[in-house]
């Protein structure tokens, strides 16, 4: 097995410790930022949707601010966003590099992204269901929980899946600007040292990760759609 690997991907095997570290870093970034984006992004999307004019918690100023935040952060290319947020990262996390340094830029990129996905998912919930719930005496927050979030579960799962896939993509870019992880590993060795087996291994690993996330997402969607 070891021999076989050494013959197919000699340079990866030769840098096994760095490779494992890169894998860990990527998993950490995806895991931590993935959780953060779900916990911040879903409420963000819910507020974005419900405070809209005509929404059940309609509130013009809040909607205006959230909507603008969303537009602005979504229009900045990630690589520029990461650079702009270096200062904030240093301030909050104490560093602008490594996994710790990547958390803030990645979160700023994924939260508005997921927020828009959630907004779209909730919009798919039929107005009739909300009306029925109101007629049954539900409060706006009950409607958020028992109607919007519950009935939009497949759409939310789809949104989270797309967000995680983009997040994996962003972590690779973050690698280029000092965040570590597989992206960094591929650039440092695969690209700069022209070691194609490293490039291909990282690529394959990322494809597998994305496929896995997508497959889990699809399974959740299927299970929650009736």
């Amino acid at each position: 097995m070891g021999d076989l690997l050494s013959s197919i991907i000699p340079n990866v095997v030769a840098r096994a410790p760095q490779f494992w570290k890169a894998c860990q870093e990527t998993f950490q970034m995806v895991g931590i930022v993935g959780l953060l984006s779900v916990f911040i992004g879903i409420p963000f999307g819910v507020l974005l949707f419900t405070t809209k004019p005509g929404g059940i918690l309609q509130n013009r100023p809040i909607y205006f601010v959230l909507n603008k935040i969303c537009d602005i952060f979504r229009s900045i290319p990630f690589i520029l966003l990461a650079m702009i947020l270096l200062g904030l990262s240093r301030l909050v996390m104490g560093t602008a590099i490594g996994v710790k340094g990547a958390i803030i830029p990645l979160t700023f990129a994924t939260v508005p992204f997921l927020g828009r996905q959630i907004e779209g998912a909730l919009a798919e919930v039929s107005e009739g269901l909300v009306e029925a719930a109101q007629a049954m005496g539900c409060s706006p927050w009950e409607i958020v929980w028992r109607v919007y979030l519950k009935e939009a579960t497949p759409g939310i799962a789809r949104g989270v899946t797309i967000t995680l896939v983009s997040l994996i993509n962003f972590t690779a870019i973050a690698g280029a600007i000092g965040a570590g992880g597989l992206g960094n590993f591929a650039i440092q060795y695969g690209h700069q040292k022209s070691l194609p087996d490293i490039m291909w291994t990282v690529l394959l690993l990322i494809v597998v990760m994305v496929s896995l996330v997508q497959a889990i997402g699809n399974a959740v969607v299927k299970k929650t759609t009736h």
């Binding site: 029925a132 005496g137 409060s139 579960t153 009736h226």
Partner: protein, 344 residues
């Protein structure tokens, strides 16, 4: 004591000057246990009016009192409590697709203080009542339209409401399913004494189950009374046109316009529409007039049905003879409304 009292209710969307006046100065009182119909064409303001009853739409003027509580005076929190006693069913059922039938029916029971076991028992009882005892585990997508509406009715009854509002509840169903749903509503009304408000644009629905009816046109109630009164003796053009849509007596106008040979008249002959305005007259009046005045009455259309146990309807006939004028006068005295459509 009325269970629903709408007093001078108006609802304007947008500004008073150039907004949409969906409901204008409507006053309706509905007694406990009554099935009250509100009929009108699309856009007449029926949905808006019914949504004013549970204050899903807040009236711009007037007061709404349900079961002795003035809803228009309540703060939101209390209002939500009051709404639990006013259930609603809808044209498109509005069941939660991600929940099973059982979970849908249990939806309004959350926070009611019932235990899991009690909730389950209650839900199964309700499903029994609506005739779907074996569908508890099904999802709405697996049900037919009629079955979905039955589930919606079970859900509506879960909170033991005083009032059931039905907004076009049978409009998405075929005629047979409509019948069965109406029968179910009627049954429940008889069993539980629940007050029912039925919104519809279909005459047949009102005839089938309502005790009283209000006719709405352009946001106003233009006519109101017992179903028999309103439909036997319609006062307003809208009401007449509703009657015409369900009775073939309305078709005569088309035939006359097309100059159909069926309605060709010789001098002295007339084509007339006779409507029985009162319960005690029937076809017998026709044969009597025929004998008395020696006129020939040849019937082109006849349409009689039993409403509230009383015959209602009329006929269109070609009447000929020397004493047509007197015959008509006699019929009018006997409370038959005569409308001469064509003279020879």
């Amino acid at each position: 004591m009325n269970v629903i009292k709408l007093e001078h209710v108006s609802k304007t969307f947008g500004r008073e000057t150039d907004g949409v006046h969906a409901v204008r100065d409507v006053t309706i009182h509905i007694a406990p246990g009554e099935i009250f119909g509100i009929i009108g064409y699309s856009g007449a303001g029926k949905s808006t009016l019914v949504r004013c009853i549970n204050l899903l739409e807040r009236p711009t003027a007037g007061t709404v009192t349900v079961d002795g509580q003035e809803l228009t005076r309540m703060p939101e929190r209390e209002l939500r409590q009051a709404r639990k006693k006013i259930s609603m069913i809808f044209q498109l059922f509005n069941l939660m697709p991600s929940r099973t039938v059982e979970q849908n029916v249990a939806f309004p029971l959350k926070g009611s203080g019932l235990s899991r076991e009690e909730t389950r028992r209650k839900v199964l009882e309700l499903l029994e009542l609506v005739g779907l005892p074996d569908k508890a585990e099904a999802y709405p997508s697996q049900l037919s339209g009629g079955q979905k509406q039955r589930v919606a009715i079970a859900r509506a009854l879960a909170s033991d409401p005083k009032v059931l509002l039905c907004d076009e509840a049978t409009s998405a169903l075929d005629p047979q399913t409509t019948q069965s749903i109406l029968r179910l509503i009627k049954d429940i009304n008889q069993k539980t004494g629940i007050t029912v408000v039925v919104i519809t644009h279909e005459m047949a629905v009102v005839k089938e189950i309502c005790h009283r009816v209000a006719v709405m046109d352009k946001g106003r109630v233009v006519e109101e009374g017992s179903v028999f009164e309103v439909f036997s003796n319609p006062q307003q053009p809208v009401t007449r046109s509703f009657i015409a849509t369900t009775s073939n007596l309305g078709k005569i106008e088309e035939l006359i316009a097309a100059n159909d040979p069926i309605v060709a008249v010789k001098p002295g002959e007339i084509v007339a529409r006779l409507n029985y305005g009162q319960s005690n007259v029937s076809e017998a009046a026709i044969s009597e007039v025929s004998r008395r005045f020696n006129v020939d009455v040849s019937i082109i259309f006849s349409n009689t049905e039993i409403l509230d146990g009383q015959p209602l309807g009329g006929l269109v006939a070609l009447i000929s003879g020397d004493k047509v004028g007197e015959a008509i006068g006699y019929l009018s005295e006997k409370n038959v409304m005569v409308e001469v459509l064509k003279r020879g």
